[in-house]
Amino acid sequence: MQYLSLTYFLAISFTIGVVFGLIGHSSRFCTMAGIRNLFLFKNKEMFLGIIGMIVGGIIGFTILNFIVPTAFFDFPIFLKTKVFIKASKLLLIVIGCIGLGIISTYADACPFRMHVKAGSGNLNSIIYLLGFYFGLVYFILFLQDLIMSVFFF
C-alpha cells in the first residue's frame, strides 16, 4: 500500500512537471524577466504573466476549495491564521527574496526558467543546475542547523 501511494505521488508530480515544462517553453515564461522588463523597458507583456498566475491561482483555489476542502488547509491564510507574528520568519523571507532577486538577475533567469532552458539544450544552464543541486545538499548538511539556531526568535 505504501508503495502504491508512492507511485501515485511520483506520477502526479511528474505529470505536473511535464505540463509546466511544456507551458514554460512555449510561452518563455519567467518571473524575473517580468519584473525586470517592467523596470527596464516599461514592457508589460511578461509582467502580465505574473498577474495571470495570481488571477488563475485565486480562481482555481476558490473553485476547488468547495470540491476538495481537505487539500486546501486554511485556504485564505490571512483569515484563518494570525499573520505577522514571527519576526524571524519575516526576516528570513525578506533576506531570501532579495538574494533570489539579485542572483536571478545576474543569471538572467529565475530557477524555473533555468530548468526549462536546460531542457531545451543550453549547457550553461545545466552547469547552473549542477550548482543548484550541489547548493541544496550543502544547505541541508551544513547551513540548516546554523540558520535555525540564529533565527530562533
Binding site: 502526479i12 512537471g17 495571470g52 498566475m53 485564505p76 523571507i93 527574496c97 533570489l100 543548484f132
Partner: protein, 150 residues
C-alpha cells in the same frame, strides 16, 4: 509540426489553474501550497534519496516529488516538437560563475523556503506575509539593474 506559442498572460492563468488542480490531487502535505516548488521539490527528492540508503525508516515520512525532473523533460519535448532544440555551447569563463550562481540560488531559495513560482501562488492563496517577499524580490532585481547599468 508547428507548435503553438502561448501568450504569457494565458500561460500564467494556465499555470495557476493547473497548480490548484494539482494541489487537489496531491492533497495537503506538511506545507501549504506545495504542489510545485522548484527549490522544495528538488530538496525533498535529494533528502529522500539519501535517507533511503542511510536510514530507510526515516524515508517513509517523506514524499519524494519528481516535478523538477518533469519540467526539464517537458521543456525537452516542447523544444523537440517545435524544432527549437539546439545545444548552446559552454562559455569557458562562464562555467564557475554559473556554478556559483546556481549554488547561491539554492541557498537563498531554501532560506526563503520558496521559489518565485510558489511565492506568487502563496500570494494568491492569501498569505500576506509573502507580500514582503514580493517586494524584496522586486527590490533585488531593481538594485541589480542599477548596478549593472553603471
Amino acid at each position: 509540426m508547428k507548435f503553438i506559442r502561448i501568450k504569457t498572460f494565458y500561460a500564467g492563468i494556465l499555470v495557476g489553474l493547473i497548480f490548484a488542480l494539482a494541489q487537489a490531487f496531491l492533497g495537503y502535505s506538511w506545507k501549504n501550497v506545495y504542489a510545485y516548488c522548484t527549490v522544495g521539490h528538488s530538496r525533498d527528492l535529494i533528502l529522500w534519496l539519501t535517507l533511503k540508503f542511510s536510514e530507510p525508516e526515516m524515508a517513509e515520512h517523506l514524499i519524494p516529488l519528481l516535478s523538477t525532473i518533469g519540467v526539464i523533460f517537458g521543456a525537452f519535448i516542447a523544444s523537440k516538437l517545435s524544432k527549437e532544440f539546439h545545444i548552446i555551447k559552454l562559455e569557458k569563463n562562464n562555467v564557475i560563475t554559473m556554478f556559483i550562481l546556481g549554488f547561491s540560488a539554492a541557498i537563498f531559495g531554501l532560506i526563503a523556503t520558496f521559489c518565485p513560482i510558489r511565492l506568487f501562488m502563496l500570494l494568491s492563496y492569501g498569505d500576506i506575509e509573502v507580500l514582503l517577499g514580493f517586494l524584496g524580490y522586486a527590490l533585488g532585481i531593481f538594485l541589480t539593474i542599477k548596478i549593472m547599468r553603471r
